[in-house]
């Protein structure tokens, strides 16, 4: 009898397991896709030289092989699938499109000439070409067949790189200083016209200085143009670029596996630390990464104290209970309000109302705070993530054993002392959990940010060495918005696709890193007071 009894419900455990597996599979698939696509962007690929059946020569990297349906064949029963290659050919200035498709049947032969160079330029993206010669200073010619060629190429690029840095520094520091001095005087004159005479000499002097520096700078710029690099792309005429145009290069067909890996790491570092160029489709994404980081940290710093204070009042002091309950439901629901609504609120309240009031009161040149900026974006997101922090703080306050509260009061503490000396430290792990969740949510938001301070291009970082170091009024870049901009606003979305994946991968890595940091801190605190009591 006993063994015949069927235990009801046990057989449905598989339902739970299936639900979990489904979730995990989807997440793994999504992450896998992003990681794979994101990382392959950086992996240096071989350059094909393809001869086609119609006697064309195509040079490029084979990105993938896909199939398409040949619409010319009308008979539905026939095999209409055609394999085609997806090729990255670069050389946008010559070919017009950096990506193209090629039906496999049209490929006559392929080869991998070792001489190919993959060269990133300031404009028009990458060039994949056969180098022909270098002309130094308009005189000395070094042919590609020369032994010294590679050496000279490297040293010249290093030289121009250093020069470029020097020019950048010069423009920023020397010219920037004179410029800001002139600007200051102009502002003072604007306010009080009688000062014009007092400053006339000084202004003249500064303007002369500025002119001199400008000349110096343009001389340096000319230096950049002196050396030239000549190359040919099969099927096109010989071209030349000045070395000032070349960012970096490598020989993709000469790399060993180890060399490929080194280049791969180098590509990733380059992507992370460089500024974007060419409508964000080339170069790196450092300003966006940095902007996201600064904004997320600022947001956490704003939301955590605010949320904790609110939760403490609600949990410890607020009465009567029915009103608190309604309030709690309202706060929970706040978490479900579409984020764009918060964006609109931020724009109306922070930017237009508070920002413009600040400008008026402190007589700042409008718009300083009266327009979107880092501060307002962080505040808007802080508002958006506030419910998360309040809920988790309240929950962890609730979880503090009643005995500890009583013990604190029995020791003669006031309620206030009990809260700040005992309850808050005891619920710190829960508070940090709330902060982690808030960071995860905040870092990924895009919609509200578009209204309150994120822009497509803002190469100046919001945190730098000029006073007051953190520029809360400055507009900034954001990885989430960058993804949107690349994927949907860029003129050549096909060309931007790898960048979209790489940026997504970076955003996810950033969020995970921030969360990991939070988790480590939380575990430290938890271990310090590890006990069965919690």
């Amino acid at each position: 009898m006993a063994e015949k009894t069927k235990i009801k419900g046990e057989s449905y455990i598989w339902l739970n397991a299936m639900g979990l597996s489904l979730g995990i599979i989807m997440i793994v698939f999504l992450l896998g896709l992003i990681v794979k696509e994101g990382l392959t962007v950086f992996w240096p690929k071989k350059v094909y030289q393809i001869e086609t059946t119609d006697n064309q020569t195509i040079v490029g990297e084979r990105v993938s092989i896909g199939t398409k349906i040949n619409t010319e064949i009308i008979d539905a029963s026939a095999d209409r699938k055609v394999r085609e290659w997806y090729i990255y050919q670069g050389n946008k200035d010559l070919t017009g499109q950096s990506f193209r498709y090629l039906e496999e049947s049209k490929v006559k032969s392929t080869s991998f000439p070792e001489a190919f160079i993959r060269m990133e330029r300031m404009e028009y993206g990458n060039a994949i070409a056969l180098p022909s010669k270098i002309v130094l200073d308009g005189k000395e010619e070094i042919l590609a067949s020369d032994e010294k060629f590679q050496e000279v190429l490297e040293s010249t690029i290093e030289k121009t790189d250093a020069l470029r840095d020097q020019i950048h520094e010069f423009e920023k520091v020397e010219i920037g200083k004179v410029n800001s001095e002139i600007e200051e005087i102009r502002l003072e004159i604007l306010e009080d016209e009688t000062l014009q005479e007092n400053y006339a000499d000084e202004l003249k002097d500064l303007e002369q200085q500025y002119e001199k520096l400008r000349l110096e700078a343009s001389e340096m710029h000319e230096q950049l143009e002196k050396d030239q690099f000549f190359y040919t792309v099969p099927g096109y005429q010989e071209k030349s670029v000045t070395f000032g145009e070349i960012v970096r290069f490598y020989y993709p067909n000469q790399l060993s596996l180890g060399g490929r890996f080194v280049q791969f790491i180098d590509n990733i570092i380059y992507f992370i630390k460089e500024k974007p160029r060419e409508a964000n489709t080339e170069g790196g994404i450092f300003p966006a990464l940095f902007g996201t980081f600064v904004m997320t940290v600022l947001m956490s710093l704003l939301v955590t104290p605010f949320g904790v204070i609110a939760a403490v009042f609600m949990h410890e002091y607020a009465r009567p209970e029915p009103v608190v309950r309604v309030l709690r439901i309202a706060i929970n629901n706040l978490a479900g309000v579409p984020s764009i609504v918060f964006g609109v609120f931020g724009l109306g309240f922070f930017v237009y109302f508070i920002g413009q009031s600040i400008d008026d009161i402190f007589n700042l040149p409008p718009p300083t705070f009266g327009t979107g900026g880092l501060m307002w974006a962080s505040l808007t997101l802080a508002l958006l993530t506030l419910p998360v922090v309040i809920v988790s703080t309240e929950e962890s306050l609730n979880a503090v054993p009643k005995g500890i509260r009583e013990a604190s009061l029995a020791c003669g503490s006031t309620k206030w002392q009990m809260i700040w000396r005992i309850l808050i430290p005891a619920s710190l792990p829960g508070i940090i959990t709330g902060m982690i969740l808030a960071m995860a949510r905040g870092a990924g938001e895009v919609a509200p940010l578009m209204l309150v301070g994120v822009v497509k291009l803002a190469p100046d970082l919001p945190l730098n060495t000029t006073y007051p170091f953190i520029h809360l009024d400055q507009k900034f870049m954001h990885l989430g918005f960058h993804i949107y901009d690349l994927g949907f606003q860029s003129p050549d979305s096909e060309a931007a696709k790898p960048m979209v994946f790489a940026t997504t991968l970076l955003l996810i890595t950033l969020v995970i890193t921030l969360n990991l940091f939070g988790i480590i801190v939380r575990n430290k605190i938890r271990n310090k007071y590890a006990s069965s009591a919690f």
Binding site: I404, E406, R421
Partner: protein
């Protein structure tokens, strides 16, 4: 909270019915014995089981409870309690669950203020001052009347910080003084030798018995006059219990201790006086030897001999 008490008292009601039946049968026996003793104490027929009729009178009690009633909302849990606690003695409160002994104990340092629906009448006088006087400083009262709880409840801080919590909150930060206090209190709590090398480690690393002794050390760091203990050994093993009991006897030299316990042996081992509560009434209050050897009330005898409760 309220719900809890109600369910407890319902439970007690059920017991009560059973008990009353038994009472009748035992009353004749009690009378017999009373006659034998030559002490004519009380008549069970009147149903009056008030305070003790012992001849010994407590002079200058440190705590004096007078006509004290207490209720949670509509649920009255203490009826007209009168009880004096002498200085530097241990007084044990015994009785079945829900009889109000913990409530009385918690009233002595006004821990019941935390319960919104608590109401009381009557007075508790500690050192000639009614503790319910609106002008009284509750914080000051709690510093004078320390408390140790049933479940050890160290703070999520180091052992050191746990002991001196009461000093920190009044802004005492002199290191030498704090160090001294920590050593004194931990020595008094018989914990110093076990933890002196890890004072700055988390208090949660201690064993259950050690934690409870830490809580006692914490309670005496404020140098209170009275220490209230609410079933301090109920969560401890016998070895730890013995240690805490020894500690209580040691502490008696300097402090007045009121302890609530469910352990009759414990009450008989440590206390000087014992009060038996039943259904919110103080049934009997006398010297411990007397309560355990020769209780004047049949309910007390039934309870301590394990016939119910």
């Amino acid at each position: 909270m309220t719900v809890d008490i109600q369910s407890n008292s319902k439970e007690a009601d059920v017991k009560n019915t059973g008990f009353n039946v038994e009472e009748k049968s035992s009353s004749s026996r009690v009378l017999e014995r009373n006659v034998k003793d030559g002490s004519n104490l009380m008549s069970p027929e009147t149903g009056q089981y008030l305070s003790n009729n012992n001849t010994d009178v407590i002079e200058n009690p440190i705590i004096s409870v007078k006509n004290f009633d207490f209720s949670y909302g509509n649920n009255k849990v203490l009826h007209d309690i009168n009880l004096d606690v002498p200085e530097k003695e241990i007084v044990a409160f015994i009785g079945p669950s829900g009889c109000g002994k913990s409530t009385l104990l918690r009233s002595m340092n006004r821990m019941n203020d935390l319960v919104d629906v608590a109401n009381y009448e009557g007075e508790i006088i500690i050192r000639d001052q009614n503790i319910f006087d609106p002008a009284l400083d509750v914080i000051g009262l709690r510093r004078r009347v320390g408390m140790v709880f049933q479940k050890s409840n160290p703070f999520p801080k180091s052992i050191y910080e746990n002991v001196i919590f009461g000093l920190r909150i009044i802004g005492e930060n002199r290191k030498s003084f704090l160090d001294e206090t920590v050593e004194r209190c931990l020595r008094s709590a018989a914990l110093w030798d076990e933890v002196k090398d890890r004072l700055h480690e988390s208090a949660f690393g201690l064993s259950g018995g050690q934690m409870q002794r830490l809580c006692i050390a914490r309670a005496i760091a404020n140098e209170p006059e009275i220490v209230l203990m609410d079933e301090p050994c109920s969560a401890l093993d016998p070895v730890a219990t013995v240690k805490v009991e020894e500690l209580m006897l040691e502490l008696k030299k300097n402090y007045t201790i009121v302890i609530v316990t469910h352990n009759m042996q414990q009450a008989s081992r440590v206390s000087d006086r014992t009060a038996f509560f039943y259904l919110g009434e103080l049934v009997e209050y006398a010297k411990t030897e007397r309560i355990f050897s020769n209780p004047s009330n049949p309910k007390t005898e039934d309870y301590i001999s394990g016939r119910f409760g």
